[in-house]
């Protein structure tokens, strides 16, 4: 059951990611990314991260990507043009990414035994588990995040404001 779900949603993820890469219209890329994110939410559930799964859907799919689609729509972004820079990017990009993948895969698979197996429902992190660590051990980073958000708001307002 776990393996089946993993395969299904893993394939969704990869397919979505590839689609993001291959689609030429940004909105299609955005939708594929939403698919990836939502599938990831399911994978989080499989790994016992309930709260994160929900947060993933709410924050990523529900807020961040909405913002993306919103901007795509607002700017009426058209199809991507293939321009001079892209050939170089192809030459450098794919081998680089492939090499990265190769290294990482090698590391993960060669030491695969160290990481153990994930069983369904074996380790479930509840929201209160999370909050216990979040609001005690990691209270300061949590508080500091508010500064980050403040900055983001300030910046978004300052940058997107129309010049008078």
């Amino acid at each position: 059951m776990h393996l089946a779900l993993f395969i299904i949603f893993g394939v969704f993820c990869v397919a979505g990611a590839l689609n993001l890469l291959l689609q030429r219209h940004p909105i299609n890329s955005a939708l594929s990314l939403i698919v990836v994110m939502s599938s990831l939410a399911v994978l989080y559930l499989l790994l016992g991260a309930e709260f994160l799964a929900a947060a993933q859907v709410i924050v990523y799919s529900g807020a961040i990507m909405v913002l993306f689609t919103f901007v795509i729509m607002l700017l009426n972004a058209g199809k991507e043009e293939r321009t001079h820079g892209s050939r170089l990017a192809y030459i450098a990009g794919f081998p680089g990414a492939a090499a990265l993948l190769g290294i990482l895969t090698f590391v993960f698979l060669s030491r695969g035994g160290d990481f153990g197996q994930a069983r369904l429902g074996e380790y479930i992190v509840t929201t209160s588990d999370l909050s216990r660590v979040l609001f005690r051990d990691l209270l300061l980073p949590f508080e500091v995040t508010s500064v980050l958000i403040l900055i983001a708001i300030l910046g978004a307002v300052a940058l997107a404001r129309k010049e008078h």
Binding site: F115, D137, L138, L140, P141, L148, I151, G155, L159
Partner: protein, 493 residues
Amino acid sequence: MNDALRILPEIVLVIAGVVLMLADAMMAKQSSRKPLGWLAVVGALAALAASLWQYELPPGTAYFGVVQTDAFSVFFHVLIACIVLVSLLITIDAVKDSTEGLGELFALMLFGAVGMMFMSGATELLLVFVALEISSISTYIMAGFRRKSAKSPESALKYFLLGSFATAFFLYGIALIFGATGTTRIEAIAAAVGAGNTPALIYVGLAMIIIGLGFKVSAAPFHVWTPDVYEGAPSPVVALMSTGPKAAAFAVLLRIAYGAFPLLHTHWVPALWWLAVLSMTIGNLGALRQRNVKRMLAYSSIAHAGYLLVAFTALSAEGIAAASFYAVSYAAMNVGIFAVISHAGEYDDRLTLIDDYRGLAYRSPLLGGAMAFFLISLIGIPFTGGFFGKFYVFAAALHSGLVWLTIIGLINSGIAAYYYLRVVTAVYSRPAEASPVMAVPRPSMPLLLALFLTAAATLVLGIVPTGVLARARQAAQTYPAFSQTAGTPLSER
């Protein structure tokens, strides 16, 4: 309460920023925002005082070991507070009353400093990450603040995209290290590594962290964003972002490399060695062919990152002290020179080509002299902070037996003399008849203050560096593995 004292400068800055935003909201729409700048200056001064006061605190951690106050972090707290203080003065001078979003700009500078300060004190990678993002995001925004020019948003965009890209790498590195050790606390990682638990995962993770931080400190080959960003961003902001976040990122790199992975130095030292060589060489060669002063200084900042990395590679207490000292002296002279550029270019960066600076010394002896002085310090002429910093860095390197690195570095500093000097001679040569008349506005009080502070700092660091040196050396004691046997490099033991 004791915990709060350990993050006092940050708290002060946050409060100042919030008060500033509230004041901004309450002020009449048309009224000048410059008083807000002075408010921010007061905030930065308070933060500076708080940072200095932190030297009184016994070293220790706070908030469940997430953040640490020790001589090292306090050293960087003080440095960052100073940088922000002077950058604020420059900004007050550069902007006009009509400039939009000034309140936000000042607040962002203060908030950005919060991130930088946390970076230098964090012992939990999560906090490092959040703080890094605070400092990065605020600088992305500030880079785009010169809205009248198309270059500014463009530079913000490039900075943003490449910076976020780097962040992803940094984060992946943290994830892998978390996977290998099961923790994100720096001492705990060190303990896990010390227990002989060093799977390949750690190497890959460390490499990714170095890549991520390499971007942030603009070390070659991760430097591509630097020239564009420096060129497009408003000069006062460049003064801040070429020094503050960089110093903080170096602090993080130091803490991670020396604090979490001292035992793996055989792996990261060669990597940093190459980064140092590449940064120095690419930075200096790149600067040689620039016609734009800001781009030139961008490449020079890459080169200076290289010099700093040399100190890292020394792998000794002296090296740490040298890196810390160099960060200070670089900050002093670089902020100073951007003060001049910002004033001469009037925030809008009207004139940034080297030719535009022909005869600056004739139009404004003070600015010309200041610019020449800072450039001379950047070259590394004795009795300036630039020289002593460089000297100290290379002394540490040579002490650790890095002969080739020292030679490469000093040859590089010789090459660097050329492009700096080109500007010096331009500043002091008679302006061509046909050149656009560069009417330099009279320096205002905040600018004079900024110039005085930076020039005095540069001079003091060059002539009587003892005080700062002692603090830097004290900071180096934070890493006991390296300070106990000061002098003998780890590699030889």
